[in-house]
Symmetry: C2
Subunit: 261 residues, 2 copies
């Protein structure tokens, strides 16, 4: 259901853009800065300006958790502004032993009602499977990330494979192409070819196009699945902070248009 | 300062027990179940009953996040019940690109004022270093966890080392014995010998003694640092749910006493 709906939206809207709501109080436009509910008002206007130019919103939980309990309320209210049918991702990178992962799943899938959550694979299958047990929800496993530190462990060789390739191989036994996706950093677009050999049918969430570098056309060329696209391309800062004037929503919309394919 | 204080407390109290506050509304004693503030009242009584028998409390964030914004308030209030000088750990297993990890650090080190946080090493050095930049705070890096899934990636060979051994080696360049510790699962107590060869001086946080299996004496034998102990041994469920009657706090205290050495 979710996969079908995503593919349909990608085709209708002509984009696989995921707008990352990494909203930072210090970077708000001048007309909102310091006002009560400034973050919420900002998110609302960004969503209104981009909703028909994207297929997903990704809320980075760190930016809300650093505000404490009120941050969780802002996350909850922000979700209520996202039109029904648009895919929602909690970019939370959680993962713990089984009974604990189940709590995280409840927090994001039930309490906040996100469609998807990002998880870290480090602790292995039994730390990820509790997320996969939720019906009509998607678990997005970190494979190759776009930061420099990905060289430290993700890109170490384990036998004849890189660790991130091993993560892609092993984890395919845990879920299906319906309920599992992968995070793959776009700063290595050419690595998408090898990745597609390992996971030909799973959706990939690609951060790092925009502020973190990476190239839209390369990502589409090396990463798309024939007829189904199978990509979510995330952009956060480039869209959110396109302008710090009163025209921020309009400028955000202009940025989002650059992702039409 | 934190390390010195921990060593002093371990010697004074004769224990390296860390009580894990993984409080589950469904498992509360019958006299509290369903009452308003039941979780908070339970935590308060557990803390009062165990504070002079332990050197640390570890709050597993998943158990509070699944309650939404009120859960964050309960976490905040629970912290206020912990006597000053006892080490507090946010068992949050966070980790993300640099500017995001910084937000998580602010959430747990500044907003909630924990002394320490657990982090996942998967994304590498630049995902962990932002936590290490906070003064008088401790970052606890996952190395070898106590769950079955640790075999999937943590125990893969990367060259001549297991991945978790590589994590221990590489990460030592990121922080010091003052501001960095490691999570090492006690279900493999004999592995502590090899681990101590790699990290002879760092504190180790050992989960899995108790409900997850593992043996206190083995952990002390293989894991302790001469004169400094250098261990925090966590127990959660075994202490919290020692009784579901009105005597739960007393029984929790009896369980905590088993960790005196």
């Amino acid at each position: 259901m979710i996969r079908e709906n995503l593919i349909r939206q990608i085709k209708q809207k002509g984009t696989c853009l995921c707008v990352g709501l990494d909203t930072d109080a210090a970077k708000l436009p001048l007309n909102l800065k310091g006002k009560p509910n400034a973050i919420l008002e900002f998110n609302k206007q960004i969503i209104e300006a981009t909703a028909n130019l994207c297929v997903a919103y990704k809320i980075n939980t760190a930016f809300y958790e650093c505000l404490g309990a009120p941050g969780w309320e802002i996350m909850e209210e922000t979700l209520s502004y996202i039109p029904k049918g648009i895919f929602t991702i909690a970019d939370a990178k959680r993962g713990d032993i089984g009974n604990t992962s189940e709590r995280y799943a409840k927090a994001f899938f039930e309490r906040l009602n996100f469609d998807a959550i990002t998880v870290s694979p480090y602790m292995g299958g039994d730390s990820v499977k509790p997320f996969l047990e939720f019906k009509n929800k998607v678990t997005i496993v970190l494979a190759l990330t776009s930061n420099v530190g990905s060289a430290d462990f993700e890109q170490l060789k384990t036998g004849d494979k890189y660790l991130y390739e091993q993560v892609l191989s092993t984890s395919q036994q845990w879920g299906t192409i319906e309920n599992m996706m992968y995070v793959v950093g776009a700063t290595k677009a050419e690595a998408l070819m090898t990745i597609r050999e390992i996971v030909p049918h799973h959706f990939l969430l690609i951060p790092g196009v925009g502020a973190q570098g990476g190239n839209l056309q390369d990502v589409l060329k090396y990463g798309a699945i024939k007829d189904e696209v199978g990509l979510l391309i995330n952009s956060s800062r480039q869209i959110l902070y396109a302008s710090n004037g009163e025209d921020f929503a309009e400028k955000a919309r202009d940025e989002a248009k650059k992702y039409l394919h």
